[in-house]
């Protein structure tokens, strides 16, 4: 295992605890401000102002919400399964917390620098479902149960394209490290992108990763497990107060976690465009900016796009994303095996990404949706 | 399908109905808007079947069912039919004798009649024989009052009948 130097020369485990505490505290502040930021951003998309009353431009709104949530009554339904119900928020939160442990926010700025970083992230994220299932089963509510079933089905389906799209990148790191052996270490993956981020080489893989990420996060258009207009919040419908805020914390923490993860793997992390030798503050700012960009896009999509149906969601995963991601994997393998130039990688992946986008657009335009209103815009245009 | 037919004048509809129903013991007259057939309950089914199935009549659409409390005359039920095919409208009035508010249901001919009949049943106490599910629709399921009867008070403390403990209900 690679370890960065312990802070102040402390023993390794004290150093780890200090780092964990720092990450958790910073994450909490981030979560509080990302709820505020999301509300502001969504409000702007909807031609509103968003929170304005608490502090200047409503800046303290997040803290006010947090205090309100902590002070709320913690309600447990009568026919809930007590321990399952009460432990579920923690069971969802811990895996997300664990993923934050391996993310490099700048060079060696992270809790631990694992050799198996990428593998660790998706191994631990798999456990996330357990907490959701516990919430759904323990609540004694049918909406919650339905939400949990949907969440489990969806997360299992989308984990495969997610993992395969990451493997595409890991394959390429093998060509970059020089010895032909790829790396799963997130820090190394970031450092390898000093010259160009992997999104240039693998746009298709990034598209697949981004889509699968939206699904894993239960964000629109894949927010089927929490669909407010159908099952009113899904698996956390029965939670209130602090336990509900644990779910919110999990949601936003995992959103940031995925954003940092995606920016490290695809967007060059802290290394691109300022190089591996830049100042740590610049590196931190770079990572933050990239993660923020991903988060903003997630929120943007949420405000504009309706929700898919569960069967359409499954079809999209199993019939489009899975095939494309495996195709990308095979093409990468061929190109890397014969040592063809990397421009070919970029080209094939870009063609694939173009194909994916074309598929979606053709699907929409083939149905000539724009015609109907146009016919009735003027008088007598449609009179028979 | 999409041709626009002019609505048929009422007197033409009345004439048409007189040709069809001259033999039956029904009275044909007209209201301010529609032709009207006054029909006793026992001939009601036959009249409606004729209205629905005859080529010249072809009343394929049930607009509305109104239950009315006519006090000492009994309960009346008015059906508004419309023919999309021939663009004509007719109203069928069924007056049930006091104490015997039974009318055959027409849900098998017009699926749309289902909720209308349920509403008329709970509001004035008509009974539609052959209706698949004559439960209360708008009122509470276990309430057995008929609020649109003229005898039912408007501004009094109402006692919801049919509930075991007869505590006063809502006061308006």
């Amino acid at each position: 295992m690679l370890f960065a130097d312990p802070l102040f020369g402390l023993p390794s485990w004290i150093d780890a605890i200090i780092r964990i505490v720092i990450v958790v505290l910073v994450m909490t502040v981030f979560v509080i401000y990302s709820t505020y930021g999301e509300r502001k951003l969504v409000a702007r998309f909807q031609q509103r102002l968003g929170p304005m009353r608490t502090g200047p431009w409503g800046l303290w709104q997040g803290f006010a919400d947090a205090i309100k949530l902590v002070g709320k009554e913690d309600i447990r339904p009568k026919n809930a399964d007590r321990w399952v119900f009460e432990l579920a928020p923690y069971a969802t939160f811990i895996p997300v917390l664990l993923t934050l442990m391996v993310l490099p926010f700048a060079e060696n700025w992270g809790v631990r620098n694992l050799a198996l970083g990428v593998f660790f992230v998706f191994a631990v994220l798999g456990l996330n479902i357990v907490g959701i299932l516990m919430a759904g089963l323990g609540s004694g509510n049918k909406y919650a149960l339905l939400g949990a079933v949907r969440a489990a089905a969806q997360m299992i389906s989308y984990e495969i394209p997610l993992v395969v799209s990451l493997l595409c990148v890991v394959m390429i790191t093998g060509a970059d490290t020089g010895n032909g052996v790829g790396t799963l270490n997130l820090n190394t993956i970031a450092a390898l992108q000093e010259d160009r981020p992997y999104i240039v080489l693998q746009p298709l893989a990034f598209l697949i990763f981004f889509t699968a990420m939206l699904s894993e996060l239960h964000r629109a258009p894949f927010d089927i497990p929490v669909a407010e207009s159908e099952i009113v919040g899904g698996y956390f419908v029965e939670y209130s107060g602090i336990r509900w805020s644990m779910f919110q914390l999990t949601e936003y923490a995992s959103m940031w976690g995925f954003a940092v993860f995606g920016s490290v793997v695809f967007l060059g992390g802290w290394a691109w465009p300022f190089g591996v030798d830049s100042h740590w503050a610049l590196q931190l700012a770079t990572t933050f900016t990239k993660a923020l960009a991903i988060v903003v896009v997630i929120i943007w999509i949420r405000t504009t796009v309706p929700r898919l149906r569960i069967d359409q969601l499954m079809n999209f995963s199993w019939k489009v994303l899975l095939e494309l991601s495996f195709l990308q994997l095979i093409v990468n393998g061929i190109i890397l095996y014969y040592d063809w130039p990397q421009e070919l990688l970029a080209l094939t992946s870009a063609v694939g990404a173009g194909f994916l986008i074309f598929l979606i657009i053709r699907h929409a335009s083939a149905r000539s949706t724009k015609g109907l209103l146009g016919t009735y815009r003027t008088l007598g245009a449609s009179s028979s | 399908m999409s041709k626009t037919l002019a609505p048929k004048p009422i007197d033409q509809v009345v004439k048409l109905l007189e040709q069809r129903f001259g033999k039956l013991p029904v009275a044909i007259n007209q209201t301010a808007t529609d032709a009207n057939i006054d029909c006793p309950p026992e001939h009601f089914r036959a009249v409606v079947e004729e209205l629905k199935n005859h080529r010249d009549l072809a009343f394929d659409f049930l607009r509305n069912i109104v239950g009315i409390d006519m006090l000492e005359e009994g309960l009346a039920c008015k059906y508004q039919f419309f023919s999309y095919k021939n663009r004509q409208a007719v109203q069928v009035t069924v007056l049930t004798p006091p104490g015997n508010p039974h009318i055959p249901s027409i849900t098998d001919l017009y699926p749309a009649a289902n909720w209308h009949e349920r509403e008329a049943a709970e509001m004035v106490g008509l009974i539609f024989d052959g209706h698949p599910n004559l439960k209360n629709l708008l009122l509470d399921e276990d309430v057995r009052i008929h609020p649109l009867l003229k005898a039912h008070p408007l501004q009094k403390a109402e006692i919801l009948q049919g509930i075991e403990d007869t505590t006063p209900g809502f006061t308006f």
Partner: protein
């Protein structure tokens, strides 16, 4: 020393959770205890510094298998409220016999084997070495196993589809 303490804590924890799997009255609780116990085994692997195995344990057993168990439970039970359900039927004595048998076999095997490794200073096996073994030394058996699993998967789907179609 510290490692040993942690090892003992987790070992006892695993035993307690496994007992929970057997003795809890609700199927849901059993499944959750099972997840806990499997995750504990994963932690044991971490203590032995075989991270790859530990993560695989988390991914396959913690994430996938138990989730499938829970999903199957959710879809097949009449009462979604998670109330206790009778799990012990007339098969209990046979299950006990089978359990004792398996435990005995495992114990005998564990005690009679001459273990090659050394728990005092475990060796850290790099993932490169594992992949070397898996994809080069034992490449053909690995691929054959994959094909077998794939065939089983496709077969399962076909069987399920046929029943739906009729």
């Amino acid at each position: 020393m510290a490692t040993e303490v942690i090892w003992w804590i987790f070992a006892l924890g695993i035993i307690a959770l496994s007992a929970g799997v057997v003795f809890s009255r609700s199927v849901i609780h059993s499944a959750i205890f099972l997840i806990g116990s499997l995750a504990g085994v994963g932690v044991m692997f971490v203590i032995l510094t075989v991270e790859f195995l530990a993560l695989t344990q988390f991914l396959i057993y913690g994430g996938a298998v138990t989730v499938l168990v829970l999903l199957a439970l959710m879809l097949t039970r009449a009462d979604p409220s998670g109330r206790a359900e009778k799990v012990n039927g007339p098969q209990a004595p046979f299950a006990l016999l089978a359990g004792i048998g398996v435990a005995a076999v495992l114990l005998v095997a564990a005690l009679s084997t001459e273990w090659a490794g050394n728990t005092e200073s475990p060796t850290n096996i790099a993932i490169e070495a594992i992949s070397q073994r898996l994809f080069e030394d034992f490449g053909l058996p690995f691929i054959l196993a994959s094909v077998l699993l794939l065939v089983a998967l496709v077969g399962a789907i076909i069987v399920a589809r046929q029943e739906e179609g009729e």
